[in-house]
């Protein structure tokens, strides 16, 4: 009996010791969550190993835990107060909500942050990520600009000497390509396809980049009001509506089955640079050639052609006990060498100014001419406006998009007006 008591005391002491040790270890260890993309894991591991060999603190790295979406996992971790110290891959639109809730570290309060960011990013990007309270809560990290991918048969088989980069040219291409290949009385070849499902984020791949292109990077929300009730948004709705009305686009969810770009049932698509590897990997004939060009614009468009950047950023949560140390680590990921590694390992573009002309990236870009097109586009990209209810804003636009563009139930003017009114009501609440 006496022995049992001794053993119990020793076990309890051991337990206390291990808890204390683990607490001390945790204070010196920063937890870093990356996305669970294979290439990003490789990229992160490279930098974490290097830091752990040389740094005073340690980084414990893990891909974000599995969940329906990374946004859902992050939300659960915020609610459960189990957030990592650093999270890389935060969608820009989520940052405002977390910043307003006070769960993010204002990075501009950290030593060296402001100077570093000014050196790395354009003034436009810095303005875009600055919150309404004047602080910066996110490190602009990487972008995947949305552009038009096209099958080069467009030039060779259909005789287009120029790429369809205006609304009219694209509609003409639609007319030329539309075909009933199996003679069943139904069109089964289209100029392009974009997701018809009324999900808010699907507008990042059709309406929103087209709107940014037409409006030279205009706002959806400005001064807490809808700023899209204008001829640019109406023009985009009209252009897309015509594509569906004339059956140049299919209303069916083509994305549910095979990739119709690869099967050559569609000849263009609005997508990001990730499509390069995908098409190269799955193309069905070796001589399948494709390229990229900017989003379509109205005929009278002047100036550069903007698009949606699909930016993913890095944040430090307020559960981090060493935010300065966390920033010091992040700096290694996003300095020129870090950005070069990001490009080479993941094929994704860093959110850095002059990437197209910076010497350090030239070798990679020259070897990957398709990525170079995106690097050129990177000079004219935008994320989303800082707005806590940006998801609802896109959802409202999606509802009107469906009613007007897909089902022709409203005129573009009425649909945009209704969307703007609904957004104004939402922002007033």
């Amino acid at each position: 009996m006496k022995n049992i008591k001794h053993i119990m005391v020793i076990l309890i002491l051991l337990l206390f010791y291990s808890c204390n040790k683990s607490k001390n270890e945790n204070e010196n260890t920063l937890l870093y969550w990356s996305s669970n993309n294979m290439h990003e894991i490789e990229f992160t591991r490279h930098f974490v190993d290097k830091w752990n060999d040389e740094g005073t603190s340690k980084i414990r790295f893990q891909p974000i835990p599995e969940g329906q979406s990374s946004e859902e996992v992050i939300l659960a971790s915020v609610v459960g107060k189990t957030t990592p110290d650093i999270y890389a891959n935060m969608w820009q639109g989520s940052v405002t909500m977390y910043a307003n809730a006070g769960v993010l570290i204002p990075l501009d309060t950290l030593e060296g942050f402001t100077e570093f960011i000014k050196e790395r990013c354009s003034q436009e990007t810095i303005e875009e990520i600055t919150a309404d309270d004047g602080h910066i809560y996110q490190v602009p990290w990487k972008i995947n600009p949305i552009m038009t991918i096209y099958n080069k048969r467009l030039n060779n088989d259909f005789g287009f000497s120029e790429l369809p980069n205006t609304y009219n040219a694209y509609l003409k291409a639609g007319e030329a390509i539309k075909k009933d290949k199996n003679n069943d009385g139904y069109v089964d070849q289209w100029v392009g396809y974009t997701e018809v499902k009324v999900l808010w984020y699907q507008r990042f791949f059709n309406f929103y980049p087209l709107y940014l292109a037409a409006s030279n990077g205009g706002h959806l929300i400005k001064d807490n009001k809808a700023a899209f009730n204008n001829e640019h948004a109406i023009g985009v709705f009209r252009f897309l509506q015509e594509l569906y009305n004339k059956e140049y686009y299919s209303k069916e969810r083509l994305s549910a089955g095979q990739d119709r770009f690869i099967t050559e049932d569609i000849f263009t698509k609005w997508t990001g640079p990730w499509e390069i590897n995908h098409v190269d990997k799955f193309k069905q004939r070796d001589d399948f050639e494709f390229g990229f060009f900017p989003m379509q614009v109205p005929e009278d468009h002047e100036g550069p052609i903007y698009t949606y950047a699909d930016p993913k950023n890095i944040v430090i949560f307020n559960t981090c006990v060493q935010p300065q140390e966390a920033w010091n680590f992040i700096k290694t990921l996003i300095d020129k060498e870090g950005d070069k590694q990001l490009l080479e390992i993941t094929g994704q573009l860093p959110n850095r100014k002059n990437i197209e002309t910076e010497e350090i990236f030239q070798d990679y870009l020259n070897k990957n001419p398709k990525v170079k097109i995106f690097a050129k586009q990177a000079n004219y990209v935008k994320g989303v406006d800082n707005c806590e209810v940006i998801v609802e804003v896109f959802d409202i636009i999606s509802q009107e998009y469906e009613a007007c563009v897909i089902y022709n139930k409203k005129t573009p003017e009425k649909a945009i007006e209704d969307a703007a009114k609904a957004v104004d009501n939402l922002l007033r609440d």
């Binding site: 009324v198 609802e392 469906e402 089902y407």
Partner: protein
Amino acid sequence: MKRKWLPYILVSPYILHFIVFVAFPVLFSLVLTFHKWNIISPMEYTGFSNYTKMFNDRMFWKSLVNTFKFLIIHIPLQIIISLALAEFLNQNIKLKGFFRAAFFLPVIVSGVVVTILWQQLFGYDSGLFNRMLVAIGLGKVGWLIDPNIAMGSIALMATWKNVGLYVILFLVGLQTVPPHYYEAASIEGASHWQKFRKITLPMINPTIFMVVILSTIGGFSLFIEPYIMTGGGPLSSTMSSVLYVYKQAFEYFHMGYSVTLGFFFAMLILAVVVIQKKYIERGED
């Protein structure tokens, strides 16, 4: 002393479970209906504004109408098909066990798997149904892209998925009908249809009612099918009430408003159960 506490100790796991997973969430939700809360910021008391918003929310009423549309299509279809199949299985046929298993199989298959499979079948250009229609010279149907048809398509799929369960229930009901009723009717010269209408239907009336109630409750919780197949579209024609509650909670983080809607649906289901209870009591009298 030991004996006095023993029953409490034995029921304590359930009591604990009840408090943590039922009582607390329900009470917390009730409190939440008077607040605005996005999960990560502090709650803000808003009085009855969530209730006012609910009564003025057009999409909420549309989702309710959609749910009733689903029930109106789904329940009769389910009863007719499952009763017909049960009647078929109640005959002296070969491979009875095989058919029973075959009809029940969709019930045990994951709802997500079934939904994805049917999404392919319903495809406009490449779906099997439309290919068959075109092959026999008919036109294509916009199963999931026509706002007037989409909810019907979902009801059709849900019926296929659940019919096996109700076949079993009807089969049990049919087997409780005393055979001598049919024998007496046969001697009197009654036709099959007359026997079915005058004997079978009245005798299995409680089963029919149970199926109606179970289908209604199941119908109110319509979620997976529109969530995966249509996202509530086209033109919000498949936006079910539960899908709308989900969107409010997990897309917009309007927790207070979503639980207000949740409470309203709970009251609706409660009303249905009360009607059921009264009907059964009247039947017993």
